[in-house]
Amino acid sequence: MNTLLLGVGNILLQDEGVGVRVVEEFQRRYLIPEGLDVLDGGTSGIDLLHHIANREHLIIVDAVKTGDPPGTVIRLGGDKVPAFFRQKITPHQLGISDVLAVATLRDEHPKNIVLIGIVPLTMETGLELSTAIAAKLDTLIDRVLEELEARGLAPEPIANGDAAA
């Protein structure tokens, strides 16, 4: 229960939902080992508070806009993650930055936070990822696995996991 893999974003806006798509794909391919929780957070805010509270490790997957070309994968760690979330503008009543701030106020802030991000190509209305970003799902899942392995977690592949995708 110490590590949370959290995918966020809006799946109705194509690449905006890439974080959720990564988490869905991860669950199709791997058995979730003890010590790991996996959550599709959608566009929730305050609902996520008790999921992230007191985690040893929080790994967030999300679309990010860095000015880099679409498809660029980034990793942010340590104090840079809350700082990064504070900079962003959010149309949410309480975005992830606020939820992390509330966790701080309540002394429940996750000890280690990592953000795996990818620069989206399109955020038009639609349920499908763009081809360019869909092609990066394997890369993103590999990055998630690296993070998990660094934390001593080794998810076992589900037999024929790829076939279900």
Partner: protein, 566 residues
């Protein structure tokens, strides 16, 4: 000379809302409400299986997930003229009630309270006096001196760290902040405790809905929960008892903190019963169906004209013609083609963006009317309709809040005081009390019905050849929500959502009559146009939710709010 204020975006709401005001002699003389996002999400549903629509619609918004799911299954069931098993109604009703309680608590404490409560001032309070005041108001078990002192120490160390976090961008020390440091500390303590309470309400949704934030148990025709008192993988007695425990834990906070705080804070801001009435036509949906057909409801709803409860006309069933025929939306001042009001079954969504035009088009939100008139929706509309219908729990909680005010400041507030900015907050707390009682009743109804041997939760939908139409309504936390669907040969042909904030955030309509936010802002005081706290108070009192669209993390745009005084 008149000044112009633009607030873009309004923060601590869901979605992107811009408000423009003209201020003359410290009062708002004109206002414009502009939704700054275009969703067009309904288009995704065209051609899809109507049985899957609810899973898509619950992704429209991060806050209103379950409400769009409920309205969607009801719309499709209405098109199919289906009945829903009693157990499924009760389970859905419990999800509705628990979600509503969660949402109202979060809105009051975590989104709106900071417009009225000065967190920085709370650090200067005499914590002993705070505890004395709190204990004189109610016997909430976390009102002790030790608790108040701990909260104050926490706030002091948090603020002195320089990282204000959630409290950044507040108008601390603003002249319109009127609470004493002691009351500010009391509210701050409950602000912190409310995080734990909202979680209890959410646990009920996740236990019944199989998952949060997105429930998985709904189905056109009922719910996917199978009831088996012996099996581990289904809705068992153990899970039902877990739900019951959570319901009981909510009771004390709602009765001894939320309802009391609203009365107390309202007493100190009694002048705000004079501002923010605006549109006093009120529309709300009946909800909590107690039969399979949707003709008997635990919570009544209907329409009130011009603030006169004597004009109340009930909406009586899921097939109600008065409601069905009454709704139309105009695009005269919205960034779409056309201007004549259209019924949702004939709704069109062809964008026509023109930039912000004071006399022309200026919003992505359409302007809905009910039988030709603008209507305010939300907890105030709901509470007034339920009071007009003689709903006993509503009257009881309403009298309770008015009693708190009387005890504190000796004033007998008339019912008309509710037509106001502060009245919308009072109504939200009253509705939370009513929802708590409903939750308890629905739990008992479910247990009793299972006890009779009925374990049905699902009727199989069957789609006919050809075209059918249906609508579904739901009294959501922000007001009446309706989904309108046209199905052709078992596939969605057209889908329209008329959401609560469309009613309230509406721009001027086809007759150029302002919408509820716009009308409510007229006459609103503004002490300092550079810090328009009072405008935020009135807008936040509606609990705006402009269906979330964009969530992207952006490190290019650092500008958070543009407050422009011209």
């Amino acid at each position: 000379m008149a000044k112009r204020i633009t607030i873009d975006p309004i923060t601590r709401i869901e979605g992107h809302l811009r408000i423009d005001c003209e201020v003359d002699n410290g009062k708002v003389t004109k206002a414009w409400s502009s939704g700054q996002m275009w969703r067009g999400i309904e288009k995704i549903l065209e051609g899809r299986d109507p049985r899957d629509a609810w899973e898509c619609t619950q992704r429209i918004c991060g806050v209103c997930t379950t409400v769009h799911a409920i309205a969607s299954v009801r719309a499709v069931e209405n098109a199919l003229n289906m009945e829903v098993p009693l157990n499924a109604q009760y389970i859905r009703n419990m999800i509705i009630a628990a979600h509503g309680i969660h949402d109202h608590i979060v809105h009051f404490y975590h989104l709106a309270a900071l417009d009225w409560v000065d967190i920085v001032s709370a650090t200067k309070a005499d914590a002993k006096k705070t505890a004395q005041l709190a204990e004189s108001l109610s016997d909430w078990h976390l009102n002790s001196y030790a608790n108040m002192k701990a909260v104050q120490d926490k706030l002091k160390s948090f603020i002195s760290s320089g990282q204000l976090g959630v409290f950044a961008n507040g108008y601390w020390g603003h002249p319109a902040m009127k609470l004493s440091p002691e009351v500010n500390l009391l509210a701050a303590a409950h602000y912190l405790q409310a995080f734990d309470v909202q979680r209890k309400a959410n646990q009920i949704v996740s236990t019944l809905g199989a998952k949060t934030p997105h429930v998985q148990n709904l189905a056109v025709g009922g719910v996917a929960n199978t009831i088996n008192m012996d099996s581990q993988s289904t809705l068992t007695l153990e899970r039902l008892m877990l739900v019951k425990t959570a319901i009981d834990e909510l009771e004390s906070f709602i009765k001894n903190a939320f309802l009391i705080d609203v009365g107390a804070i309202g007493s100190f801001y009694a002048d705000w019963t004079q501002y923010g009435s605006g549109i006093t036509n009120y529309l709300s949906a009946p909800d909590m169906p107690m039969d399979t057909k949707g003709t008997v409801f635990e919570m009544p709803g209907g329409y009130i004209k011009g603030g006169d409860l004597g004009t109340y006309k009930a909406i009586t069933s899921f097939n109600d013609e008065y409601f069905k025929q009454g709704v139309a939306e105009s695009s005269k001042h919205s960034w779409y083609e056309g201007s004549e009001p259209l019924h949702p079954f004939k709704g069109e969504t062809e964008p026509n963006y023109t930039d912000w035009q004071e006399e022309g088009k200026y919003s992505w939100v359409k302007s809905p009317t009910f039988h030709g008139e603008p209507a305010q929706v939300g907890p105030l509309a709901n509470v007034l309709c339920m009071a007009a219908a003689g709903h006993e729990p509503t009257t009881r909680y309403l009298n309770g809040v008015l009693g708190t005010v009387k005890a504190l400041i000796g004033v007998d507030l008339p019912l008309t005081a509710l037509h106001s900015t502060i009245g919308r907050h009072a109504a939200r707390a009253i509705r939370t009390g009513v929802l708590y009682e409903s939750l308890k009743n629905q739990w008992q109804a479910l247990v009793d019905n299972i006890g009779k041997g009925d374990v049905d939760t699902f009727n199989q939908p069957e789609f006919p050849k050809g075209e059918i139409q249906g609508f579904g309504f739901h009294e959501a936390p922000r007001g009446i929500l309706s989904h309108w669907v046209t199905i052709d040969n078992g596939r969605i042909k057209n889908y329209q959502c008329v959401v609560p904030s469309t009613w309230n955030a509406a721009p001027r309509n086809a007759d150029d009559v302002p919408g509820p936010y716009e009308a409510a802002l007229l006459g609103n005081p503004v002490a300092d146009p550079e810090k328009p706290l009072e405008v935020l108070r009135t807008v936040h009192s509606f609990d705006p939710c402009l269906a979330c669209a964009i969530h992207l993390h952006d490190d290019e745009q650092n500008e958070i709010i543009r407050v422009k005084a011209l």
